[in-house]
């Protein structure tokens, strides 16, 4: 049985279950089976106020078609129109969240998903910030035996500490990092210019009991350890499910059903968080309307404020503004023309290039204040926080409408039964 011959959801699951098996019993004991891993890509479409795009329409721009499965209206096989091969499966797992499953090699599947998002204004990756990962980590600590191994990847690059002198704009390419943990931002050959700047990128694999005891102390002395970019949720038996900050999940367990269940769980938490974020950012203006020709239009959004742990240096501020709004493929994928209001302040009436929605930014060395117009997806907020943590300040503090982002995360998780007992992690102190 393979994807081409699979006729039903059960067939698909059987295919993925067979491919999920990581070990086999031999006379010499357990032996690892080397085969491609099942990867899941969690995606997000539009808020409920807008018409949700059809799954088939999302894949059309990348020249793929969906093939229906018997008796199933939410799961489809994905077939390439170029060579007729079946490359994966897509499932409308939650209302706003399709998930793409595949066993293709990462470089191919990452490319396909990147193209999918780029060519669909109504589709975006999930953006799991360090703050959200932290809450997931707390859940793992509470629900998994302490002798099990946990795996965290921390990633922070102080991208704007150096001037990037590009010969032309094409060099300033945003390299989406889909789990290529060791791939540098620039070609690491002897001829390429490698700018010096602060960067933290390492993997920590340790027993959960040790992580619980030591990580808070390490964070006190090294703030980049707030910038979690990958986290493993241990599997029930061995291995686990590796979640990346872009919404990719790699199944390193023996079970696809368990993997899908973990994906569904995290997606549910994230969905609640997004809804909660939008509700808080838009609630203060729910009743606020401008009446235009009989049509009421909600107008404002409560501000989102990202406060830096320490003020940015002038150089970092200047480079952040210059690089972000000069280069088309900047890390933050923002379009806009900064209006300078002094040496350390500017306003940008910007557009989020991921989903083509407006965002208004005030950037200073102390904070970024964001007005999120009603209708702009809450995912934009998560993405901004994620990117600020990874490239500007790993210990950034976010508030939405005056409410602490961590509280919103906790509330969102509680609604999903995620972390009724989870504690708010201790923030770094100045």
């Amino acid at each position: 049985m393979n994807l081409a011959s699979a006729q039903s959801r059960e067939d698909v699951v059987e295919v993925f279950e067979g491919l999920s098996q990581q070990y086999e019993k031999t006379d010499e004991g357990l032996k690892a089976i080397r085969r491609p891993l099942v990867k899941s890509y969690m995606l997000e479409t539009v808020p409920p106020q807008r018409t949700r795009p059809k799954l088939a329409d999302l894949f059309r721009p990348t020249n793929h078609r969906l093939v229906a499965l018997e008796g199933d209206s939410t799961m489809f096989k994905v077939q390439s129109n170029d060579d007729q091969s079946f490359v994966g499966v897509v499932e409308q797992l939650l209302d706003r969240h399709p998930v793409y499953y595949t066993v293709e090699k990462s470089d191919r599947s990452d490319r396909l998903v990147t193209r999918l998002v780029e060519r669909n204004a109504e589709l975006d990756h999930l953006w799991i910030s360090g703050r959200v990962f932290e809450q997931l980590h707390q859940i793992v600590l509470k629900t998994t035996p302490k002798h099990r191994y946990g795996r965290l990847v921390f990633q922070y690059t102080s991208l704007f500490e150096s001037e990037e002198h590009f010969a032309d704009e094409a060099e300033a390419v945003d390299t989406e990092d889909f789990g290529k943990a060791d791939e540098p931002d620039f070609a690491a050959n002897g001829d390429a210019f490698l700018p010096e700047r602060r960067a933290t990128k390492f993997t920590m694999v340790e027993r959960l009991g040790e992580l619980e005891a030591k990580l808070p102390k390490l964070r006190d002395i090294h703030r980049p350890l707030w910038a979690i970019s990958q986290l493993r949720i241990p599997a029930l038996k061995r291995g686990g499910h590796d979640f990346f900050h872009h919404g990719k999940v790699t199944n390193r367990s023996d079970s696809f059903a368990e993997h899908r269940q973990r994906v569904e769980y995290v997606l549910g938490l994230y969905s609640s968080l997004t809804a909660e974020t939008e509700s808080r950012a838009w609630t203060s203006v729910e009743k606020i309307t401008v009446k235009t020709a009989g049509k009421t239009t909600p107008i404002l959004g409560a501000p989102v404020v990202l406060e830096f742990f320490e003020p940015l240096t002038q150089r970092v501020y200047d480079e952040f503004v210059r690089q972000t709004f000069r280069y088309e493929n900047n890390r933050f994928r923002l379009w806009g023309d900064p209006i300078s209001l002094g040496p350390s302040k500017c306003h940008v009436y910007a557009v989020d290039r991921h989903i083509w929605q407006p965002l208004f930014l005030e950037i200073t060395t102390a904070k970024i204040t964001v007005i999120v117009p009603h209708g702009t997806c809450g995912n934009s907020v998560h993405r901004l926080i994620t990117n600020v943590q990874q490239y500007l300040d790993p210990a950034v503090k976010a508030t939405i409408g005056g409410i602490d982002y961590e509280s919103i995360v906790l509330d969102g998780f509680k609604q999903e039964g995620g972390s009724a007992n989870a504690d708010k992690p201790k923030r770094p102190t100045r």
């Binding site: 309307t289 020709a293 407006p358 409408g401």
Partner: protein
């Protein structure tokens, strides 16, 4: 660019946006959410309040004139259905028309003063109204009593047996290097909760709304609304660029969402309406609206001409422009071109009249 705080005070667009920030729930921005603390939320902006025929008749009998369809800059309300009409003014006015006979301020003020709960309820199509108050937001001027004009107008109406609402003047001034509001005198009739929110240290003459910026930056906040009708007597660089960027941003949103191979249609009126949060559509000055639409047309055309993208008038009306996004590089080129810094004069009326004909045919070849 940095503008001193005192220069901002008389800018009614700044005043309106400051008002909107004061209505935000408590947040971590620098601006004191004073009106939110006082329990107010924003109901609407530029909502027209039609005067009833009965009221107009009584005014006519009393030989008084009032604007029949005045629209305050903002209407606020609290959980008790107490409404607060707020009008932003660069400066206050007296009870008499100006020397050249213009009495727009006086007629507008009478209309606002007449908005007692029953009158306002009727104007708002039956919405619950338990109380009404009127407030003017303006630049502080200690050379004269800024409430004198509107109080005299209220007296005049009362003498004609027409009930009026309480009225006050909120005065903005430079305060401790930032911007503050003069604290109310005991004789001034401020809404109770706003007065309560304005408690200050003894001897302080103002409450701080925006603190000083220690780094020499302009202290104005992000603008929710980048434009209001006749909002600035003098051309303002920030207002011009913010407004222009919002227009271009709204255009980029439309272009970004249009698939390659299709045409992106940019309707000038729609862009203006979206960016001004519906205020443009309500504006009644047809000539000025036409002029502003023309300037938006030119703004977009000036940016598009740098791209070589084919464009045309989709319906021949001159009200919109369609851009052919035939290739990905055309689309990204247009988006990039719209990011270029705009001319600070883009929204100035053309003093020589219509120099630039509207686009009625195809643009330059790609």
């Amino acid at each position: 660019m940095p503008t001193s705080p005192s220069d901002l005070l008389g800018d009614s667009l700044f005043q309106l946006n400051l008002l909107l920030w004061m209505l935000q729930p408590p947040n971590r921005s620098n601006i004191r959410p004073l009106l939110s603390e006082a329990g107010y939320k924003l109901r609407s902006i530029e909502e027209t309040l039609p005067l009833s025929p009965a009221l107009l008749t009584r005014l006519s009998n009393a030989a008084l004139t009032a604007k029949e369809d005045a629209a305050p800059d903002a209407i606020l309300l609290n959980d008790n259905a107490e409404h607060l009409l707020v009008e932003c003014k660069a400066s206050m006015f007296g009870p008499q028309p100006s020397k050249d006979g213009r009495d727009g301020n006086q007629r507008q003020a009478r209309s606002f003063l007449l908005q007692t709960p029953p009158v306002l309820r009727s104007a708002l199509a039956g919405s619950a109204v338990k109380g009404t108050h009127l407030a003017y937001l303006t630049r502080h001027n200690d050379k004269h009593d800024q409430t004198q004009g509107v109080r005299a107008l209220a007296d005049e109406l009362q003498q004609a047996k027409l009930p009026t609402v309480e009225c006050c003047v909120w005065r903005l001034l430079e305060h401790e290097g930032g911007i503050g509001m003069v604290v109310p005198k005991s004789s001034e009739k401020w809404p109770t909760t706003v007065r309560a929110a304005c408690k200050t240290r003894r001897g302080s003459k103002a409450i701080k709304l925006i603190p000083r910026d220690d780094f020499g930056n302009d202290i104005r906040p992000l603008y929710f609304i980048p434009w209001m009708p006749e909002s600035e007597p003098e051309h303002n660089e920030y207002n011009s660029r913010a407004f222009g960027n919002r227009i271009l941003g709204a255009a980029v949103v439309r272009i970004g969402r249009t698939e390659v191979g299709e045409d992106a249609v940019l309707n000038y009126e729609e862009l203006l309406d979206e960016v001004t949060l519906g205020v443009f559509a309500k504006w009644r000055n047809k000539d000025a609206k036409k002029s502003l639409r023309e300037r938006v047309r030119k703004l977009l055309a000036d940016h598009l001409v740098r791209t070589g993208a084919l464009r045309y008038d989709p319906d021949g009306s001159g009200q919109s422009i369609a851009v052919k996004l035939s290739e990905e590089k055309i689309k990204s080129g247009v988006i990039k071109a719209f990011r270029e810094t705009i001319s600070m004069d883009w929204d100035k009326p053309d003093p020589q009249g219509k120099l630039f004909p509207e686009d009625t045919g195809k643009g330059d070849a790609a």
